[in-house]
Amino acid sequence: MMAPDTVNIRILVVDDEKPVLNLYKDIIEKSRTNECYDLKLCGTSHEAIETVKESMEKNIPFSLVFMDINLSSDKDGLLTATEIRKLDPDTHIVFVTGQLNFDIMERSKQIPPPDRIYFLQKPFEAVEIVQFVNSLGARWYRDREYLKIKDDLTTGIRQRTDQLQKTNRALEKEIQKRQHTEEALRKKEEHYRNIIEKNADAMIVLDDQGIVQYMNSAAERLFDRRPEQFVGKIFGFSIISDEPTEIEILRKNGSVITGEMRMVELEWNGKKSYINSIRDITQRKEMEIQLKESLTKYEKTIRGTIQAMSAIVEKRDPYTSGHQAHVEKIAVRIAEKMQLSEKFIEGLSMSAMIHDIGKIAIPAEILSNPKRLTNVEFQLIQTHSQIGYEILKNIEAPWPIARIIFQHHERVDGTGYPSGIKKEDILFEARIISVADSLDAMASHRPYRPSLGREYAIKEVVKNKGVFYDSDVVDAGIRLFEEGCLFDQEETCS
């Protein structure tokens, strides 16, 4: 704390006697050790009040006031002091009087606080004035400093409290927000877990190293293992793909089952993870095998029936004996060259084998007539496509055999029969048989003419490529012919 003598201690002396004011001046000026005392002398009540007012406005208040009680102006010392106290609640007031009595003491109580009111009996000693100046000046300064510190502290505490309250409110909001987020996350995760746990498929959650984090009940059953035997083990990382992967699962009891596995990425316990869902398809696979076996049996039965039908047709028409078998071989070779599926080739083969079945209804004399056919006979022969369709249309088969036979004389330019349909409207099997049929017909002997030769046959087909015949089919036929593999005599070609 700074010493009071280093600051301005302001003293106001109010007395209506000029000599007394001069006495104060002498005493105080003589007693002071430096220039820090500021003395103001007033002769009237009004002057004193105005001086205090001005000092308060300038924020240079008086530390103490020496106030003569018996002022001759309109207000006596007590009334003047009352006004001064209203202006400055902190200044010390020393009432100076020659007749200190009970009445004065009582009236002075109207000027609180009592610990800032003092009395000095006239005639006073210089030392008394000096003591008042020193002690009250020091006290005023201490009180002022104390108030200043208290104010600073109060302001500091208030600011800090405000800041803390603000921080608290922000923290509370943040906590609430986090609680809501955590709750939402917890619910979301619980929802996920429920979906995963109750899923009928086995589900395994893996971390990014392929280590098992979690397995559902279905996975326990599928793998025949408890979570404690599974969680924490390296299951292995699986590839993310749109298509499921087929896997075989080794169960604890040594049995092997087939599963279909898919993997997707997800967030698990806040970390990037992967969920593998595995569906047991063992039964489905077994059923597929059984179905394949019965389909193979069924196809064998159909093939047997078709071979029998083919034999019947060729028995009636010895001149074209072997034609259907030749067409079947050429058609199959073309299809294989074009890398068509096994299933397609199987249907093509059976259709080709009986493509002329409709000829069963054509009189044998016409079929084996060595002369050129009349228009009527030719029209009659053309009905064999329709008749073939009628014979086969109600037979259930995995391939559209009846329709293939119906269309095998159609041409891609629409000039064929019986419907005159074009291009892609003609079944692809029928387009292949059409080429094979023409090649074999031209390359073989007929009752009404000798063979035209294989070279001629292939040239004719090439000539009508894209007109009568499908271009891709002809191209495959050309490649086979160039390789010496088109007709059935080349044994090394199959």
Binding site: F223, I239, I247, L250, M263
Partner: protein, 89 residues
């Protein structure tokens, strides 16, 4: 040198074809810097037990450590090479 094992249930033409493709994939990426062992799970149950094999097909990178494992499809070159740590991401 990478030591790899492929566990399969049993040898079929289809699995042999897949392994052939896998070898082509490895050779294209690693040259001769790998050795691939083919293990039939049902004929080598003890080996499967030691390697913690739960499903087939499984491919394991046995060395260098750390051991890495993939299950199911092992023909997606990029994902498989990355998962087995044979290439950098």
């Amino acid at each position: 040198m990478y030591l790899l094992k492929v566990y399969i249930s049993n040898l079929t033409p289809k699995t042999l074809e897949k392994i052939g493709l896998f070898k082509e994939m490895l050779t294209a990426e690693l040259g001769s810097g790998y050795h691939l062992e083919l293990v039939e799970l049902l004929k080598n149950p003890m080996s499967a037990l030691n390697d913690d094999i739960l499903v087939t097909p499984t491919v394991i990178r046995c060395s260098p450590k750390p051991t890495k494992k993939i299950v199911g499809n092992f023909l997606d070159k990029e994902q498989v090479m990355f998962a087995l740590g044979l290439i950098n991401p």
